[in-house]
């Protein structure tokens, strides 16, 4: 083995890496200006999962902004959001450039998916399915990067109980899991469904946690009194584990055959 050849290869690699980086940055900026709600939720999902790469951290700014949200159900399948802001100036969505640490707009998430971007401090969510929903509001810069403080997004969330809206369509099959005192009641269940079924799994817990069903990649928060409802179409065959994140153990298995 020749040392110089190795060196050459190393250099070549770094060259490729450097170029790749440049290319992707350009693409990213472009994507941000034409962000669709779908793209965006994926983006944020990434952030939740790992190191923060595409956010603006305001930890070094004096008097960082803050947000508070309150939601009132309208009894007709919707909810009215009242948003209180501190040290934050809303600028019109059309603004394309000039990020300022205390300026930007708001992203509204319904059950973990971005549904709206607004530059007002109130919003009316409508056409929801009856039941519990989580509504979150987070601060975003003009270029749609999220504002972070101490490694966490600057956001606030509330749970609302929606009534008078659309009835949830019934799943083909439904299961329930109850976690009490860090233990799953009745032991480990393997829920067996057929490929193609629409499946609903309701997880109750007496502690705040997050349920994650692998591969189908469903993540839902669970709180005492507010169960996590996982909906999925069973398209992938196999056995899949659902895990309670903070507790770190498996709470049920889903078998799709």
């Amino acid at each position: 083995m020749n040392l110089s050849k190795i060196l050459l290869c190393v250099l070549a690699f770094f060259y490729i890496v450097a170029c790749g980086d440049e290319g992707s940055t350009v693409k990213k900026n472009h994507a941000a200006t034409t962000v669709s709600s779908m793209d965006h939720s994926e983006h944020e999902h990434e952030h939740e999962q790992g190191d923060i790469v595409d956010v603006i951290d305001l930890s070094s700014v004096a008097d960082p902004p803050a947000v508070l949200v309150a939601a009132t159900p309208d009894g007709k399948g919707g909810a009215v959001l009242a948003i209180e802001l501190e040290n934050f100036e809303l600028v019109p969505l059309e603004t394309k450039s000039g990020n300022q640490p205390r300026e930007g707009h708001l992203h509204i998430e319904l059950d973990g998916t971005t549904v709206a971007m607004i530059s007002e401090n109130h919003y009316h969510l409508s056409n929801l399915v009856n039941g519990h929903h989580e509504i979150a509001v987070s601060l975003s810069a003009i270029d749609h990067r999220n504002y972070y403080l101490d490694g966490k997004p600057i956001s606030d969330s509330v749970m609302v109980m929606i009534e008078g809206g659309k009835e949830a369509s019934a799943p083909d099959i439904s299961f329930e899991v109850e976690i009490v005192g860090g233990k799953v009641k009745g032991g480990l269940s393997r829920f067996e469904v057929s490929k193609g079924d629409s499946v609903e799994v309701i997880v109750h817990s007496d502690q705040i946690d997050e349920v994650h069903l692998h591969v189908y990649d469903k993540m839902k928060k669970v709180e005492p009194g507010v169960p996590a409802v996982i909906w999925l179409d069973a398209t992938i065959p196999g056995i899949f584990e659902a895990e309670l994140h903070s507790a770190g153990f498996i709470i049920f298995e889903l078998q799709v055959s």
Binding site: M1, C9, V184, G187, H214, I239, E241, E243, G248
Partner: protein, 439 residues
């Protein structure tokens, strides 16, 4: 966020469906009938050794082998990238390049590649490259390597540690842990190389030893020739090459450890085991899994040891266990394929995605960073068939090899007698392997 995703089995998020009862019954019957046929109806003269030589197809030059150099560079490079990714990439099993590379591309991929193409790990292993570089830096080492190194037993250590991290330790697939463990292993190997040279250090590289044994199943054989410093490549019937191979006790132990590890992986996916570890997290889980792993490896090892003892007594051959150790190699490959085939095809796709952004910096080097994983690439029916066929296939080859060994080493009557314990242990492994896959 280290515990964001915990996988019970290395990196697998999707487990295979249990095999249907009739498939298992069918497979078991074939394995049994074939095993008994081996006792009376097979050939009475060694046959496989001749087949394992094969016929020459082409020569390769040792020097100026550009192909090899390119592969070595790629491999060393990937190795460095993966170790760095382990340390600085996202600390999340599914979002980091290291776990999928170690558990799928390296562990399963190299197993399959060795069986398909021969001992290529010896050519492209980053440790081989690094070891040779260290050799260049330091030409005169202490000639007399200690016994623990020359006997090859030390190679059992990395294999055991690897299995423990993969199957028992609750956070074993964490990128940081993998980064540290790869670094420590590499430094250890290079330390040994520094003192006694790579020729000796290679004996401690357990993965190389294991892949070397599996490579004996390959349809390709490489032989050094005197002429022009070149090597000859032979092509032969697949799987039979192993009949020309002798295992040392240490190698035998490594093969058994790998077999036991894979068996425990299957065992840990049964409902029986998931109910035992149900609700246990963190170190409690690690403890239970460690006990389970040791227990299954011990069962597998003791079964073989007893068969060896019995064989020694009936044939009067004190090296009985080692002589027949080679017949375990195809069984190991059968187990590996049955358990990890779907992992390689499905979870393996994550490699393609993550290599585009190895350090989680938002890069997209190959334009594949956002590709979705196609979880329906292969139907569950096809997976089930591959599982049954590989377990039974591994068993059949094992029986053939063992039979051939018997008639080669002993006169006919003794040869048949020598087969009873070997067949018993192989049937045991196979039925156990099939049983594990019924869930």
């Amino acid at each position: 966020m280290t515990s964001l995703l915990i996988f019970a089995h290395g990196v697998g998020g999707r487990l295979d469906l249990p095999l249907s009862k009739w498939q298992v019954a069918w497979a078991g019957v074939v394995a049994l009938v074939f095993s008994f046929a081996a006792l009376g109806y097979f050939w009475h003269r060694p046959l496989l050794k001749k087949l394992s030589i094969g016929r020459p197809i082409f020569n390769v030059l040792n020097r100026f082998n550009l192909f090899k150099i390119v592969f070595r560079c790629i491999s060393l490079f990937l190795f460095l990238v993966v170790v760095i990714a382990g340390f600085i990439g996202q600390d999340n099993t599914v979002a980091n390049l290291a776990p999928v590379t170690v558990f799928v591309v390296f562990w399963i991929g190299m197993t399959c590649a060795s069986v398909l193409f021969g001992h290529i790990w010896k050519e492209i292993s980053p440790w081989e490259t690094l070891g040779k570089l260290v050799d260049r830096l330091r030409k005169d080492h202490d000639e007399s390597a200690p016994r623990w190194l020359t006997s090859g037993w030390i190679a059992l250590a990395p294999i055991s540690v690897f299995h423990w991290f993969e199957l028992a330790y609750h956070d074993g697939a964490s990128p940081r842990i993998l980064g540290w463990w790869t670094l420590i292993y590499t430094l250890g190997l290079m330390g040994i190389t520094w003192k006694w040279g790579w020729e000796q250090a290679r004996k401690a590289e357990g993965f190389g030893v294991l892949f070397g044994a599996l490579a004996q199943l390959s349809p390709f054989r490489v032989k050094e020739t005197e002429v022009h410093n070149s090597r000859k490549v032979f092509i032969r019937v697949p799987f039979v090459g192993v009949s020309n191979y002798e295992t040392s006790p240490a190698q035998l132990a490594i093969v058994l450890a790998a077999l036991g590890g894979t068996a425990f992986d299957g065992f840990s996916r049964t409902r029986f085991w998931s109910e035992i570890i149900f609700g246990r997290g963190k170190w409690e889980l690690t403890l239970f899994n460690t006990i389970g792993l040791i227990w299954i490896v011990a069962v597998v090892g003791v079964a073989y040891h007893l068969a060896g003892k019995l064989g020694s007594r009936t044939t009067g051959d004190s090296r009985f266990s080692e002589r027949f150790g080679v017949s375990l190699v195809p069984i190991l490959f059968g187990y590996d394929l049955a358990h990890y085939f779907s992992l390689l095809l499905l979870e393996g796709q994550a490699f393609k995605v993550l290599i585009s952004d190895p350090f989680g910096k938002g890069w997209n080097i190959f334009g594949t960073a956002t590709d979705p994983i196609n979880w329906t690439l292969i139907s569950s029916g096809a997976i089930a068939w591959v599982q049954v066929l590989s377990i039974v296939g591994g068993h059949l080859v094992g029986v053939l090899v063992s039979h051939d060994r018997g008639v080669e080493k002993f006169e006919l009557k003794k040869a048949m007698r020598s087969q009873y314990p070997m067949l018993a242990v192989m049937v045991l492994y196979t039925l156990f392997g099939l049983l594990l896959m019924t869930g």
